[in-house]
């Protein structure tokens, strides 16, 4: 029985965490993540989800509690946003270095100041190098599906890394969307019990987060780097398995109307849905444009990106975060780096838009694409352009 249900995306995400049968949720409420963990609290309080719920005093503590619960082998979930993500910043490094398969949803929010509770990607982009697998979802269904996949990816004993699932604050977290909730049995079949290989156990002591002198630190970091890079194949495998079982397919880089395109726009997160409308109308006008959506951010999908732009003249990368004093939007600068050594590469144009919750309309995407093509053809003295700023 397949039935779409209209649900707030935050609630749908919490229901997905229930389907995944999480053991421990340690979280601190922060807008726009609040509805996710509020609904989980309700599910635990009503007995629908048999889990320990830790309403904790800060995000730093939330992630620290997640370390402990994940280290005993409990399936662990948390969620945060904006300042909350930054407050747990140092613990994020610990989670990945200890190889703890925590799953965290981030309802992406701008980082103060000025104070903004609204969405952009400046929170997660400040956490690029924390060693987590990072996925962006663009609609409610993707949030639900990828929450379930995230546990499977994280806990796979070939991976054992934390996974961050990004969903745009408000633009996605607070939308009511038609969502197809998978059935419990199907999720249980897909997602085996967490089988963490070295849980904390007094009978079999293990010390985590130990001291490493210079003679061993480089080896420890390289081992961690290899684990994140090698997680790529398991991520694909999990998505493939999910696709076979549930009929919805996910890839690191996804295409929309890219056939015969000479210009591609690259977006992440909820931008992508509106961008499709813009692509449609530009295509109707005869403009050869297409859209690629970056779903997997870490490990960075180098081969997929290079493959996606083969034969393309212009690539316009739209970031929803500003890299202050830097070379352009965070995604754009990484994509430029990924193409630096390539012989046949497109002209790459960096745009920043949608900061602090500002909407970008279909018309806005059309303007970005038109201006992007102009920059690609004529050049620009700017490292990047910011769309919509009032001069």
């Amino acid at each position: 029985m397949k039935q779409y249900v209209g649900m707030e995306v935050s609630v749908a995400l919490a229901e997905a965490v229930k389907l995944a049968n999480a053991d421990v949720i340690a979280a601190y409420p922060i807008t726009p993540q609040t509805h996710i963990i509020e609904h989980l609290a309700e599910l635990v309080a009503s007995g629908e989800l048999d889990a320990e719920y830790i309403p904790i005093e800060s995000e730093h503590s939330a992630m620290s509690a997640c370390l402990g619960s994940s280290a005993v082998g409990a399936r662990t979930f948390t969620a945060t946003a904006g300042q909350g993500l930054e407050l747990m910043h140092e613990v994020l490094f610990v989670a990945s270095a200890m190889r703890l398969p925590i799953v965290m949803a981030v309802a992406n929010r701008a980082v103060s100041s000025p104070l903004s509770v609204w969405g952009d990607h400046s929170d997660v982009m400040a956490c690029r190098d924390v060693g987590w697998i990072q996925i962006f979802a663009e609609n409610g269904q993707e949030v639900v599906d990828n929450a379930i996949c995230a546990f499977k990816m994280a806990e796979d004993n070939r991976v054992l890394l934390p996974v961050m699932l990004n969903l745009d604050g408000f633009h996605l977290s607070h939308m009511v969307e038609p969502v197809l909730m998978p059935e419990q049995k199907a999720v249980s079949d897909f997602l085996p019990l967490n089988n963490y290989p070295q849980p904390l156990n007094p009978d079999k002591p293990v010390a985590m987060g130990d001291f490493a002198p210079p003679v061993i630190f480089t080896e420890a970091k390289w081992a961690q780097e290899m684990s994140l890079r090698n997680s790529y194949s398991t991520i694909l495998e999990v998505w493939d398995q999910f696709g076979k079982q549930f009929g919805r397919h996910y890839r690191p880089v996804e295409h929309y109307r890219t056939e015969g395109a000479s210009t591609l726009l690259l977006t992440m997160g909820s931008f992508s849905e509106t961008a499709m409308t813009a692509i449609d109308s530009l295509r109707d006008e005869g403009c050869k444009v297409g859209l690629i959506r970056l779903r997997l951010w870490r490990p960075f999908p180098f081969s997929d990106i290079r493959e996606a732009v083969k034969g393309i003249s212009n690539l316009i990368v739209l970031d929803r975060a500003i890299s202050l004093g830097g070379p352009g939007g965070p995604a754009a600068s990484e994509i430029k780096a990924a193409f630096y050594g390539e012989e046949n590469k497109p002209k790459i144009v960096s745009f920043v838009a949608g900061l602090g919750g500002r909407d970008v309309t279909p018309k806005g995407f059309e303007e970005i694409i038109t201006r992007g093509i102009e920059i690609a053809e004529k050049g620009s003295s700017n490292e990047y352009e910011i769309y919509g700023v009032r001069e």
Binding site: M98, L160, P197, Q198, M208, D210, P213, V215, A223
Partner: protein, 97 residues
């Protein structure tokens, strides 16, 4: 640990760089941090044990004759034993090798 730290490759690092052998910090040679080395003149030693009590590394032990010996594998050369010794039977010298 079966291998010396400087021989372990990244592939041999435990998952998450965890340690499965309790107390293996004792294998860590802190003696090579040392630039000054304590030299003991046992003819002046009155066996008061102050060096033993004050050594922050815990690397001084009593031998069968009641004298206190310093384990150079761990001694970091901090000089506290020499500072505390009431008979100046411990002096710090620059370690050349």
């Amino acid at each position: 640990m079966t291998k010396a730290e400087n021989e372990i490759t990244w592939k041999e690092i435990n998952i998450g760089a965890t340690v499965h052998e309790p107390g293996n910090a004792s294998q860590y040679k802190t003696g090579d941090w040392r630039s000054n080395v304590p030299v003991v003149d046992f003819s002046k030693c009155i066996k008061c044990a102050l060096c033993y009590i004050f050594c922050p590394e815990g690397c001084i032990t009593k031998n069968d004759d009641g004298f206190f010996e310093i384990d150079m594998y761990y001694c970091k050369g901090c000089g506290i034993c020499a500072e505390e010794c009431p008979t100046d039977s411990i002096i710090m010298k620059e370690e050349k090798e």
